[in-house]
């Protein structure tokens, strides 16, 4: 790690003031990604601003009947929070599909959103990477790209977003609350993360002087019919090759509302509202699921090693929607896929 200065923020305003004063500074909460990146010399902050003492660790009901999750709520606490277990089990399941319990105990809600890609060229400082060093080139496009994106890629970057939690938050249409010099604003989850386009060094639309203070969930949690299906090389403690968050609202055999988001396939959680609209009003059958899968994966493109992800995603979508429709969500403990 490089030398850096360490300071504790006393409140949110102080945190904003400190980050605005030093563009090379970074906030630290759980540290599970940032300290790793610092050890790899990928992140070289001048200063770490410790925000772990800020009062952002509560889960509270919102006026509209949703939940407001403080940015410092640890991933493990969130997954086991009674309100999340009961009303948003899709989110609980996605969180428990990610990382290890030690990491979930450390990792914060806000930090999970700001995780950086696990593309190994991004981590390997001896290779070109447009995300780490803009303009240097992308080593993955013609390199080893088995883990890389198949949707929303650009000629500059084919990295994926690593989070499981964010896939569920995208499906649930969460909002991100951020505070900066200009005050507080609320960002729709779909607008929070970015596609790489020609500036892959920027992962999200959070401004340099902003701090995430909370994530808000709308009242609708799809608790009756949901599934988070994560397909990976090991049964546990591995990033997704493809993951699917599915939520359905059923009336008899008919779908009233549907949510579908994919992880492991793009620079951000991948959601296609058109596919959800197709499902809405359709019978909960394999044929409907197939049509939705084709729509979600329209334009998907492999780069050689990751070509298999397109078919894997298609089958995963069918399976996750079937699990959701049956009311038998994928267990994150018994790993058999039924």
């Amino acid at each position: 790690m490089n030398n850096f200065e360490y300071a504790r923020a006393s409140d949110v305003a102080d945190a904003v003031r400190r980050i605005a004063a030093d563009p090379a500074a970074k906030f630290i909460a759980g540290g599970t990604n940032l300290i790793d990146l610092m050890k790899e010399n990928v992140a070289r902050p001048s200063r770490l601003i410790d925000i772990t003492h800020l009062p952002l660790d509560k889960v509270e009901e919102t006026k509209d009947g949703g939940l407001r999750i403080g940015a410092l709520v640890p991933n493990s606490d969130l997954a086991h929070h009674p309100q999340i277990e009961a009303r948003y089990p899709l989110l609980a399941s996605a969180i428990l599909a990610g990382a290890s319990q030690q990491l979930r105990n450390m990792a914060s809600t806000g930090g999970n959103l700001l995780q950086r890609t696990r593309c190994f060229y991004f981590y390997d400082t001896t290779t070109p990477c447009n995300k780490r060093e803009p303009g240097s080139g992308c080593s993955a496009i013609e390199g080893i790209n088995r883990n890389h994106a198949i949707l929303g890629t650009s000629e500059h970057c084919i990295a994926t977003h690593p989070s499981d939690m964010c896939v569920a938050l995208a499906a649930l249409e969460a909002r991100v609350l951020a505070t900066g010099k200009g005050g507080e604003r609320s960002i729709a989850f779909a607008d929070f993360h970015r596609l790489p386009v020609d500036t892959p060094q920027t992962d999200s639309n959070l401004r340099a002087d902003e701090i995430i203070t909370a994530v808000e969930l709308p009242p609708k949690g799809f608790a009756g019919n949901y599934s988070y299906l994560k397909i990976r090389d090991r049964l546990s403690y591995a990033f997704a090759l493809v993951s699917i968050a599915a939520g359905l609202e059923l009336e008899g055999g008919t779908i009233k509302a549907a949510r579908l988001a994919l992880g492991g396939v793009a620079h951000k959680p991948w959601r296609v509202p058109e596919a959800e609209a197709q499902l809405s009003g359709a019978p909960a059958t394999r044929e409907s699921f197939q049509r939705a899968a084709e729509t979600v994966l329209r334009g998907a493109r492999g780069f050689g090693h990751n070509d298999f992800k397109i078919e894997l995603a298609r089958r995963g979508i069918l399976r996750a929607l079937a699990q959701a429709a049956r009311g038998t969500p994928q267990s994150q403990s018994d790993k058999r896929i039924k």
Partner: protein
Amino acid sequence: MAQSSAAARKGPEKFAKPAKMTVALRVNGVERKLTVAPWTTLLDALRLHLDLTGTKKGCDHGQCGACTVLVDGRRINSCLTLAVMKEGAQVTTIEGLARGTMLHPLQQAFIEHDAFQCGYCTPGQICSAAGLIAEGKARTADDIRELMSGNICRCGAYPNIVAAIEEVMFGKAAPKSGEARR
């Protein structure tokens, strides 16, 4: 540590030399004060500053779990947190689990079930298992396997590690997947 290609071209970066900081930790029930640089991980603080070398440095990147300790009762990877961030925290390491000459039940069970070969991952496995038991979420052997997946054992002692934890949690082998136990 490899220099980034950018850093190599631009020459050494200029960083101020921050002053060392004083941190108070309660480690295995004993108040400890230490003076460390801000970039000292909790793992290095334990091993290099407090001579508590039972906690192991495996990958140093949060991938192997050898550095697992309990902080305020929760299991974490001590390699991915800074000592200065843990001011006032209660830290329990493998050295703090036994009561005098009485081994912790997990230590005893690991011996009885032959739950290790080289032993390098064992302190982390045992601290992680202690955290798992305190969390109270595991009901089946599948649950134990899933919730212990952050602890790698390259000798492959997994079946015996699970058996040792099962014995401490349930007194005998846990039910198979799906048969929840109360």
